[in-house]
């Protein structure tokens, strides 16, 4: 679901400024373009569910929530810390095509169950540093579920001006929401 930010609110609400929010009216994904370069950090909040019934990483009721930047699908790497209700694990993947933000319920989960992902993108407009992305996910499906703390690096010094937010099946279920905030620093 492409969303242009040209009409984003410019109103200031303390340090955390809502830039855009979107709810999927049909199955799809989010594509936030023209992101203002005037904040220190970005913060993304998702309440999401995948359409697919094909799970990821051995979790039959869960799929990855994903993101990539500026329409670039190279240069990502990730370290996970995951709890599934029985054990804790940590995994890693290098040289990826996207960020992995954690896990959300999929089409195998009871109807009406959505998961939550929050993502911090620090120093997103800096053109001298790689970008570090910190996210947490929560997906409980009443009998199974995951919670994850995840760090990604995008090995690219470009300023981030576009976020594409999707799940591993590409499509989120209708009703999935995503909100993008800018975090102002002093003087911004």
């Amino acid at each position: 679901m492409p969303v242009s930010l040209s009409s984003a609110s410019a109103a200031m609400h303390g340090a955390m400024v809502p830039i855009v929010t979107s709810t999927l009216s049909s199955n799809g994904y989010f594509d936030f373009t023209n992101i203002p370069q005037t904040y220190q950090d970005l913060f993304v909040v998702e309440n999401a569910r995948a359409v697919t019934t094909s799970g990821d990483s051995g979790f039959s009721t869960q799929n990855y929530g994903n993101m990539y930047f500026n329409n670039v699908t190279t240069g990502y790497s990730v370290t996970f810390l995951i709890g599934n209700g029985a054990s804790a694990t940590s995994t890693r993947a290098s040289t990826q095509t996207n960020c992995y933000l954690g896990y959300i319920p999929n089409g195998n989960a009871t109807s009406g169950i959505f998961g939550s992902i929050t993502t911090h993108i620090l120093n997103y407009a800096n053109t001298s540093t790689y970008k570090t992305i910190l996210s947490r996910s929560a997906g409980d499906t009443n009998g199974s579920g995951t919670t994850a703390l995840v760090v990604n690096t995008w090995q690219n010094t470009a300023a981030i001006n576009r976020l594409t937010i999707y799940c591993s099946s590409t499509n989120f279920l209708a009703g999935t929401t995503a909100t993008l905030y800018g975090i102002r620093s002093i003087g911004q």
Partner: protein, 168 residues
């Protein structure tokens, strides 16, 4: 609940070998949040920490991409000594540190930190706590790493207020 920027420090060319200081922290907020984007100057991975009173306790839950560990420290005059930042080119660790009720003079202060880094083949993600065993209101804060902060490292301080109107 609203969040307001208080101060920001960006490390310039040449790095900062003596740590990063925040002084004269206003006492008018309910909570504090530090947002840390850091890299160390020299080779290797080093701890990022806050000097504290002797024998400050900390606890960590960490994943390094292969295993999960939970550790405790109690004999160090530092907080968050188990959190680390990388030195890999252009790669920075990100941490968010929350300090609740920082101006209260009847409570010890509990710090919560969440963050990590990934260097495309190595990395660490951390959930940590540190107990500052002092009832003094926090008026200053000091961060350092074992090898200083590299250029472009940045720490932003925010105050978080609560409102009777919203009940937040």
């Amino acid at each position: 609940m609203s969040m307001f920027p208080i101060a920001s420090i960006t490390v310039g060319a040449g790095g900062a070998s003596g740590g990063v200081f925040f002084n004269n922290i206003p006492q008018t907020f309910t909570h504090l949040q530090f947002r840390i984007f850091g890299r160390t100057q020299n080779a290797g991975v080093t701890s990022i920490y806050v000097p504290a009173t002797a024998s400050t306790p900390s606890h960590y839950l960490q994943g390094d991409g292969a295993s999960v560990t939970s550790t405790a420290q109690s004999g160090l005059p530092y907080g968050f000594y188990g959190t680390t930042v990388p030195s890999a080119t252009s790669t920075f660790g990100s941490y968010i540190l929350d300090i609740l009720d920082y101006a209260n003079t009847n409570k010890y202060k509990t710090y919560r930190i969440v963050g990590g880094w990934d260097a495309n083949g190595s990395g660490r993600v951390t959930l940590g706590s540190t107990l500052q065993q002092s009832t003094s209101a926090m008026t200053s804060f000091y961060f350092d790493t074992e090898n200083g902060f590299a250029q472009y490292s940045r720490i932003d301080l925010y105050g978080i207020s609560t409102s009777n109107a919203t009940g937040a």
